[in-house]
Amino acid sequence: MVEASATIDFSERAREADQPRSPLVRFGADKPLRLDAKVDLSPFQIAYQTYGTLNAERSNAVLICHALTGDQHAANLHPVTGKAGWWESMVGPGRPIDTGRYFVISPNVVGACMGSTGPASINPATGHPWGLDFPVITIRDMVRAQAMLIDHLGIDTLFAVVGGSMGGMQVLQWAASYPERVFAALPLAAATRHSAQNIAFHEVGRQAVMADPEWRGGRYEIEGTNPRRGLAVARMGAHITYLSDAALHRKFGRRFQDRDNPTFSFDADFQVESYLRHQGISFVERFDANSYLYLTRAMDYFDLAADCDGILANAFKNTGTRFCVISFTSDWLFPTSESRAIVHALNAAGARVSFAEIETDKGHDAFLLDEPELLAIVRGFLEGAGKTRGLPAVVK
């Protein structure tokens, strides 16, 4: 059985959902978010982090789009876990996304639980968390909200939009929805649609959450319960899909955890079991179960070609954006074939596209890791684009 530690202060995470320790922009009744579900979300708020300085021409802004379980804390200490930002290898002074050169904006997506409006936020109509009354949101809704944030910050054109996995979906949606506002786009380990297999994995995760008796139809915060077991199991299952057989074997093999022999029980005898349980438990500290349902749903619904009569190239017709598509050899969740489909569509649209597949055994999560080749390619691509854009090397 997966047991979350009793010491976790869940109220801290709940507070973060409404009053985050991040800059915040609130959009009132005059600026509703028009959702694909044909309802307006209003009022709503977006929490975000920024790094670096916006130049006088406002031409050096880089938007970072986080993945399913990421958040705005890409390059600063996480306020709940106290851990380093999730993309410190990529973002920071002297890093490929150099905060000495670019003004980096990292928002929390709508539907998430770290300060942007989502199912864990208080519904102003009831005074309670939204729960399942929160409207279903899409990747396009997330991007629409980000565009409103960018407007609010007074930025017309983003120098680059960067993200992996669900973040990569947002990058592609940005390029399709606002081509004139995106100078360069870097979708990493991404796809233009969520595959049947990936929807299937998500469904297993959602069912794990909903099967937890503490989920209470999504009203757990009101009823004072917490579906941590269900969410932890969902995370454990998902986490396997982010790695690879080779990486798991390299890291854990069949080694035992703190013992020399099997216990002939269902304890976590194997290191890999112990690791997954730890992943599950630490995840529930910082993530909201309903948010997990909503964000996985948003990914499931993503199908860029469906918005243009099934012809993906039409999503990028006449685009002036330059693209850098990156995939990883051992990523079986968003395999290279998905990135190739993006590249084919971009070529058909006559777009300026670079595509690299990086050899690694680290699976889907490789985009988050300190992969020298990944870092070199992102750096080189951005420097090349920066030269074309006329960005000075360092912001004065």
Binding site: N347, A348, R352, V353, S354, F355, A356, I358, I377
Partner: protein
């Protein structure tokens, strides 16, 4: 009629050539109009794309089969994708480029004719450079040694060479006739990288040209 490309590289550009750019790449660059949109098929680490960007102000894209080549090119800021000339050219729309370049790669493709046809569908012009298997040294080696020739330019043994479709200048001209393309310009260079006299007859080129570069276009 067949003509020689204008030698209009500037002094600085020529100096760069002397400083190390490959002779066949310089010959290709001379055939490209300034500011053109170019696809380099089999672009390696992007040397030609770089030369074209620096000397011809070209909007260049590349396809390269090796992962190392691609990643190096992208890290240099070039628009390069990993792909295979034999399979991936079909994905490009008609008339997407002014020039499609295939430098020293034709002989490594599985279907050279199909590749060439795609090049002339995707681009208004195609530029093809290849090692001439009709060069006297190669003929001599085959005749004397009775073995697949290996030279400084083509050092691989027959069993590990990527070059599966060698041709001579004469063969290539026949292919162009078969497909019905117009040969606009051609250059053959000798073993020292010196272009052969244009007025020389084709048999002379075929015997003494170590490499050849052809600028082709569709017969309209």
């Amino acid at each position: 009629m067949l003509s020689r490309p204008k030698r209009d590289l500037t002094m600085a550009e020529t100096a760069r050539t002397a400083a190390g750019a490959r002779v066949d790449l310089v010959l290709v660059a001379e055939m490209v109009e300034r500011g053109a949109k170019v696809l380099d098929v089999g672009c390696g680490d992007g040397e030609l794309l770089r030369l074209l960007a620096e000397t011809r102000d070209v909007d260049g894209r590349g396809i390269e089969i090796s992962r190392e080549g691609v990643n190096e090119g992208v890290a240099k800021g070039l628009a390069v994708i990993q792909g295979d000339a034999d399979t991936d050219l079909a994905d490009y729309p008609d008339d997407a480029f002014d020039y499609v370049v295939l430098s020293q790669t034709l002989q490594a493709t599985r279907h050279p004719r199909v590749v060439l046809e795609h090049m002339l569908r995707i681009g208004r012009h195609a530029i093809v450079s290849f090692p001439n298997f009709g060069h006297w040294k190669i003929r001599w080696k085959l005749m004397v040694d009775g073995q697949m020739p290996r030279t400084d330019n083509l050092p691989d043994t027959w069993y590990d060479t990527p070059n599966i479709h060698f041709c001579t200048i004469k063969d290539f001209r026949q292919l162009c006739d078969a497909i019905g393309v117009r040969m606009e310009t051609a250059v053959a260079v000798d073993a020292w990288g010196k272009p052969l006299r244009l007025s020389a007859p084709w048999w002379f080129w075929n015997l003494f040209g170590e490499q050849a570069v052809f600028l082709l276009s569709r017969k309209s």
